[in-house]
Symmetry: C2
Subunit: 206 residues, 2 copies
DNA sequence: CAATACTAGAGAGTGATGCTATCTAATGCA
DNA sequence: TGCATTAGATAGCATCACTCTCTAGTATTG
């Protein structure tokens, strides 16, 4: 497959495909001469992945590149790789100063209430802290009750996810990293729909 | 409070506050002369809200403006207002062509499986369709089993949310619209943490 | 074999976005 | 009196995700 066929197969402008090549998001094809290279299905799949990550998931190209690099070359430690993937996901939060004895008090309290491990080195801990601080600043603080409710349900979802994780380590990393990122828009859409459904039923009941 | 005090109170550069004023995200203060106006707590709160929406929630200023306009001036129909709020939230999806008899097949199937109302006019339906199409294209399709699992848990969260909705209509709209948008980063952070927690426990168990 | 189409690779240009800086004329405050 | 501050307008800037253009070489087709 030549590059124009690849662009067609992915439904993208040729210039965009070239751009992804230049930016290192898409691996190059096999060069057959100074001005020719051939591409295959793996390139089509990769382009679809790039569009999924930069589109619905809302990653910048730099973030997408980091995620894709992890999928391409995951360590054998699922836990560490997952941590690195989460660091690449938005929102990007400023690092805590090293000398702060308790940099994430809200997140710590939340995780304690949930009975989950609190480890300040996790990016998601900083993300949770910043999200909680932010809703607080906006005047809609989250009660511990609500946090526990959310946390419990999401933990059930996480259990479900991990139960279905492939056994083979490489596949497991890919599943977990991509599943975390790619399924997020689905989750948000489902919550919005659930809100509307519940609201509609209440409206009718009035 | 003068504008410089407002900027200090919100922790923002003066130029940025002026910018939000210009762009209509922040209501102007009460003019006391040709070159003076006074601002109050409502302006501080609004600035915090703007930062929450454009920061962690990841809205563009245009999207934030739409959400804030709904909060400022909600209709008395909670259901319709919520619908308009969801339209303003990312991801923005292309409108379906009017003559397509079944524009959102994946979303329709999902909602039927969940026993929720399917109404193609909802923005969240289009968002769900696009999210599902996108994970499918990326090679990680979502099984109906998973969809039902996710949907059920999120519906429980939505029920929880709506049970705590204020009675007064104006407050109810604000609560629902802002709660939908502002709590999303919290939900995502909690899921990521749950993934890590579950993964860590499995790793140890091996 | 000649004309045309296509390609790799690189550089520059583009439009949107979210600020940030500068300027002017007027006013406040010490 | 004089320095600081303000409203309001305009212009500038950095980033991002493309998009266009160009060159030199290669493939294809009639």
């Amino acid at each position: 497959m030549r590059i124009s066929a690849l662009a067609d197969a992915a439904g993208l402008p040729l210039a965009t495909v070239k751009y992804y090549l230049r930016e290192g998001l898409l691996h190059s094809g096999v060069a057959t001469s100074a001005t020719q290279a051939t591409y295959d299905e793996s390139h089509v799949r990769r382009l679809r992945m790039i569009r999924a990550l930069t589109g619905p998931v809302g990653l910048s190209m730099q973030q997408a590149r980091q995620i894709l690099a992890l999928v391409d070359d995951p360590g054998d430690d699922l836990y560490a790789t997952l941590g690195r993937a989460v660091s690449a996901l938005p929102p990007t939060v400023p690092e805590a100063s090293a000398d702060d004895p308790d940099p994430y008090p809200r997140a710590r309290a939340a995780l304690e209430a949930l009975g989950q491990v609190y480890d300040p080195r996790f990016a998601a801990v900083a993300q949770l802290e910043s999200a909680l601080a932010s809703v607080e600043a906006a005047g809609m603080p989250i009660s511990e009750e609500r946090l526990v409710e959310y946390g419990r349900r999401l933990r059930e979802i996480a259990e479900f996810d991990l139960e279905r994780m492939p056994r083979e380590p490489h596949a497991a990393v890919e599943y977990t990293v991509l599943g975390t990122a790619l399924y997020e828009p689905v989750l948000l859409a489902l919550r919005r729909l659930a809100h509307q459904d519940v609201a509609a039923r209440r409206e009718l009941a009035d």
